[in-house]
Amino acid sequence: MTAGLNNYLVLSAVLFSIGLYGALSRKNAVVVLMCVEIMLNAANLSLVAFSRFVTPVALSGQTVAIFSITAAAAEVAVGLAVVIALYRQRGTVDVNDINLLKW
């Protein structure tokens, strides 16, 4: 049995949901960042799957996925730097305690 477009899309949706759940519920900022990465990769997976099954000749989906991975790498670098700075400043990476932007 060969995997079809639907299988890939379901996998992508599952990954996205796991990532979303983690991003919304985990308290550790590092884990939240990791979950965001999972969501990004879910999106990348669906991009590649669509490209593979809808327009097999052109590699446009793959190209976008490469760009996305690059952007994600940069984002993680900045995000982790922010987390480290936060830890140095406040001694915690619990997102519940990072709540300065309120009334």
Binding site: L24, V95, N99, L100, L101
Partner: protein, 630 residues
């Protein structure tokens, strides 16, 4: 004798010259300190030429057809598709006579002021303002449209405000100026209302137009009555008639020559002039004419009683002015224009002379307080002579000017309003008494002051001497009925028959008797002291207290009306409305907004994951809606 008719440009010049003097002095001369003299020369020169032109106008009017010269001038104010107000000049016997009175008195007062104001640091401002004052009054007189009359009317009010408050470093002068401005403004509201009513009903404010029988008959009775009442209210304010008289005695805070001008020719004369100017309108509203007569007669007696007890020479003269203006109003209301204006004409000369005399006395003694004078007859003989002449004229004793005009008023009052005639006769007695009380207290007895009195300079005495001539003789102009003929339609007769014949009239005996009785009473009390004035004061202590407290009118206005009714009542109510209703509404809206904000800001928890949940839910909702609606 035929005199060349005056060119219209020169008629304009009559009032534009003093205005030009004002314009020249205030911005141009001022930058050069120490050069004060030119200001007075410019001002005096301007009014001097105006005086000459006024005489020419007077002569020209006599020869003009219908004794009227109307210059149309220019459209002053036009509203497209709406009314057009013409600014023109109306010269008739009334305005011609008024022009000569105002310019001559103003000329004399200004010459006198050169000496009186000599050491004043605000010499320039003085002459600038007095020119403005004269120009405003002259403009008021010649204006042919009630709207421009009103503008000049306000200008007269403004310049009198500035002159009464001339010494603005004195709080009392500032208060007096403010009082004069505010009290006359109450009257002005009536004037303005009358203008609005007249304009709405007739569509014109042209004086000759309004006074024409056709227009007058077109206005219905009630409207006409209200309009005339409004005009009279304005006249009451300006002419200091009861109950708007309170500003006039306080106006004494200005320099004495200004008082002479205010009390004789400008300002207070404006009210009488307005009634005379609109006399046909008043005639068409006979009830208002009765009101004018009653207010005038009452003011005459009312003010005269207060004049009896004042201790300040200028205040006695101020109450005298109110009283005399009352008689003018009575004269106009009962006898027509010529009676009132003839009185105004004579009064202008002797009253300005009395004020200039008071100024001269002040120059000699350094005070206006009657208690610190006395025995000045020998020290300042010229001032004494002029003052007494004016006092006799004011008392209405034959053959001086005051007698003839007073006869006119008395005769007219007896004819139309016999009750008010009694008031006028009483006023004659009171007038003679209070003015001779002043004469005896100032010039007779022993000197009670400390300042070494000396006679004033010639610059002050010459104008007084020149004013003394008309103060004695101006009444003779009507001995042959000439003045009456000029302003009204009476016939002329022989000079001597009128001059002597006036005495033979039984009425004249009555009024002379009243006047002489007044003089004699003053003589008894203040020269012979057969009865001590203090005893009389004690015996009549309750009326004395009422008179010295000015019938409590000042207290009534200040405490009851201003402080309680207006300040505690109306203004507090307005303040309450402002604070509670209007302020409350805006504060309510504000607190509603802050309240909403206080509730809504609770959603800003600072929990980034909560925001993300909201974003996800929102996104999901959008997708769901898009799916459902296809």
């Amino acid at each position: 004798m035929h005199i060349m008719s005056i060119p219209s440009a020169l008629i304009w010049a009559v009032w534009l010259l003093p205005l030009g003097a004002f314009a020249l002095i205030s911005p141009l001369i001022r930058p050069f300190p120490g050069k004060a003299e030119p200001a007075s020369f410019i001002s005096i020169g301007a009014v001097g030429i105006s005086f000459a032109l006024s005489l020419w106008i007077l002569a020209s009017v006599l020869q003009a057809p219908d004794r009227q010269i109307i210059l149309h001038g220019a459209d002053w104010l036009s509203i497209s598709g709406g009314p057009v107000f013409n600014f023109g000049l109306l010269i008739d016997p009334l305005s011609a006579v008024m022009l000569s009175v105002v310019t001559s008195v103003s000329l004399m007062v200004q010459v006198y002021s050169r000496a009186y104001m000599h050491s004043d640091p605000s010499y320039l401002r003085y002459f600038a303002l007095i020119s403005l004052f004269t120009a405003a009054m002259l403009g008021l007189i010649v204006s042919s449209n009630l709207l421009s009359t009103f503008a000049f009317w306000e200008l007269v009010g403004l310049s009198s405000y500035l002159l009464i408050g001339f010494w603005f470093h004195r709080p009392s002068a500032v208060a007096a100026a403010k009082k004069a401005f505010l009290v006359t403004r109450i009257g002005d509201v009536g004037f303005l209302a009358a203008l609005l009513v007249l304009y709405t009903k007739t569509g014109t404010l042209d004086i000759t137009g309004l006074n024409s029988p056709g227009v007058l008959s077109a206005i219905s009775g009630g409207v006409l009555t209200w309009a005339a009442l409004g005009l009279f209210l304005g006249a009451m304010g300006k002419s200091g008639q009861f109950p708007l008289h309170v500003w006039l005695p306080d106006a004494m805070e200005g320099p004495t020559p200004v008082s002479a001008l205010i009390h004789a020719a400008t300002m207070v004369a404006a009210g009488v002039f307005l009634v005379a100017r609109m006399y046909p309108l008043f005639q068409a509203a006979p009830h208002v004419l009765t009101v004018v007569a009653i207010v005038g007669a009452f003011s005459a007696v009312f003010a005269a009683t207060m004049g009896l007890v004042m201790k300040d020479i200028k205040r006695v003269l101020a109450y005298s002015t109110i009283s005399q203006l009352g008689l003018m109003m009575l004269g106009i209301a009962t006898g027509g224009v010529w009676v009132g204006i003839f009185y105004l004409f004579n009064h202008a000369f002797f009253k300005s002379l009395l004020f200039l005399g008071a100024g001269s006395v002040n120059h000699a003694t350094g005070t206006f307080d009657l208690r610190e004078m006395g025995g000045l007859r020998k020290k300042i003989p010229w001032t004494f002579a002029f003052f007494v002449l004016a006092a006799v004229s004011l008392s209405g004793i034959w053959p001086l000017a005051g007698f003839f005009s007073k006869e006119g008023v008395l005769a007219a009052a007896l004819d139309k309003q016999p009750v008010l005639f009694g008031f006028a006769l009483l006023t004659t007695f009171l007038t003679a008494f209070y003015i001779f009380r002043v004469v005896f207290l100032v010039f007779f007895g022993d000197y009670r002051g400390s300042h070494g009195p000396h006679e004033s300079s010639r610059i002050m005495l010459v104008p007084m001497g020149l004013l003394a001539v008309p103060a004695v003789a101006s009444g003779w102009l009507n001995a042959n009925g000439g003045f009456e003929h000029f302003l009204g339609d009476g016939a002329t007769h022989g000079f001597w028959s009128g001059f002597i014949g006036a005495l033979a009239h039984p009425l004249a005996l009555f009024s002379l008797l009243a006047a002489l009785l007044g003089v004699f009473s003053a003589y008894t009390l203040y020269i012979k002291r057969w009865i001590s004035p203090d005893k009389v004061k004690w015996f009549l202590r309750s009326p004395y207290a009422i008179f010295t407290r000015k019938y409590g009118m000042d207290e009534l206005y200040e405490n009851i009306i201003a402080r309680n009714a207006l300040y505690r009542g109306v203004f507090q109510a307005a303040d309450w409305t402002d604070r509670v209703v209007i302020g409350g509404a805006s504060a309510g809206i504000a607190s509603l907004t802050t309240g909403a904000g206080r509730v809504l800001r609770r959603f800003q928890t600072g929990q980034i994951q909560l925001y993300a949940v909201a974003a996800v839910l929102g996104m999901t909702a959008i997708v769901l809606i898009a799916l459902v609606r296809g």
